[in-house]
Symmetry: C2
Subunit: 236 residues, 2 copies
DNA sequence: CGTTTGCTTGACAGCATTCAACGTTGGTGG
DNA sequence: CCACCAACGTTGAATGCTGTCAAGCAAACG
């Protein structure tokens, strides 16, 4: 939970994060906005539903999940966030967070005080526009998850999940064909609307079919094209 | 598709729509932003996925659905919008709409040119903040739908759907216990991740149990509390 | 090294889907 | 005005995917 000095202008995530497309002088303005960093240990919550909302968070290192709970205690993982992605947008609506954000590994986030973000985005068109794009992108992403949850079968869901994860990791310079899952089968299942046993069985099936090599959380994609086909040709 | 003159300051939806909480002078500024209205006939699309994004739309009268399609042609209804609700937020992300918006009855919308909204919200803090809240609320709503799609059974899904619909209608001055569905069983099913037969069967079951009176699209809620219990006590 | 947590696999059950037939409604044209 | 048609809705029977329950195994952690 220590705080660090931080600068967007020298951050290697500036091509993925809030500063996308900004000029040097604008970046220096951002530096005044994003002033502190915070560490979150694995298993700890960055915020919880009901917490007062004051700040957005940009993931700098590590990995998070967000989840909502219904009154009767059921939990739904609504997303997984990695470096360069924003957390906390849900809080703007009511000044309180609507979901939990939990670190799945030791992580660092940059604090973006929301009041100051609003102030600054009134001065800088590019920042304003970029921020709106990020919110809109989240809405579009959510629509994609609804499509997945509403109309796909277990195999397709897992295939979509893996393809999405590797694509995002690839954009961050990691391999497109090997990954280490940071979440449990249960968390994957919750996100995909499946039980953990179904997730496990589907991993095994993919392995039997030669699509993947699965060793617990180490996944190697052997047949990317095969996974893709699984998604596109389903029910046609 | 005719255009009309329009004024937020004299609109009876100003307590539900974009102008929520704004002062009189601010409302007059909004009038300069929201200048035209547009009619959309039942079955017509206000916009389609891929269309260039230029404007947001506030539903003035009528009823819409939004839906996304996957590459293989499956369709998922992602929401239903009624008077005072905003359409088009998905377009900000890529300057193209990511979903279709289709009128389920003859409707009217107010055009909110997006460039001008950004300009004006740089001048008026309240407008800026209100707009951000609306986007955030959409994100929170989507999380709720994910919870529904990911972890609820057919009966709970339909109960949540009906309770949400009546609550929104009630906020607009309609009865909290009687409603006319504007969408087909298939559209309800798509939204709830169910087949139309399952929706129909569940309606029948609710009727047998004395929770509802169902006559095609005319629904009367006989036991609101019973519906609520169905949601809260599920799987406990 | 033992305990806890997470993962895999099997057997069985249940809920929702699929397929099919029939009923209802509203619009259109004779 | 009525008949017909197309779209929508209801219901039944059978199938199948995913969930549930249970047992055993592997890995991580202190």
């Amino acid at each position: 939970m220590d705080a660090f000095k931080v600068a967007c202008s020298s951050c290697n995530l500036r091509e993925l994060c809030l500063p996308v497309g900004m000029s040097k002088p604008q970046l220096e303005q951002l530096d005044s906005l994003v002033a502190t960093r915070k560490s979150v240990k694995r298993g700890e919550a960055l915020f919880r539903a009901g917490d007062a909302f004051q700040s957005l968070y940009a993931v700098r290192t590590g990995f998070f999940k967000t989840c909502v709970a219904s009154e009767d205690g059921r939990e739904q993982v609504t997303g997984f966030q990695m470096a360069g992605e924003l957390l906390g947008l849900d809080g703007i609506s009511t000044d309180r967070h609507a979901c939990d954000a939990v670190a799945l590994e030791d992580s660092q986030v940059c604090l973006i005080p929301y009041n100051r973000l609003e102030d600054l985005s009134r001065e800088f068109t590019d920042l304003q526009h970029q921020f709106h794009k990020i919110m809109s992108r989240e809405i579009v992403r959510d629509q994609g998850v609804m499509l997945l949850l509403g109309s796909m079968r277990a195999e397709e869901r897992l295939a979509v999940f893996l393809l999405n994860l590797t694509q995002r990791l690839h954009a961050r310079g990691f391999s497109a064909s090997a990954l280490v899952l940071r979440m449990t089968r249960e968390e994957i299942g919750s996100y995909l609307g499946l039980k953990l046993e179904t997730v496990s069985r589907t991993f095994s099936k993919f392995q039997e079919e030669g699509l993947l090599e699965v060793k617990q959380r180490d996944i190697r994609i052997l047949d990317n094209e095969g996974l893709r086909k699984l998604v596109n040709t389903a029910r046609c």
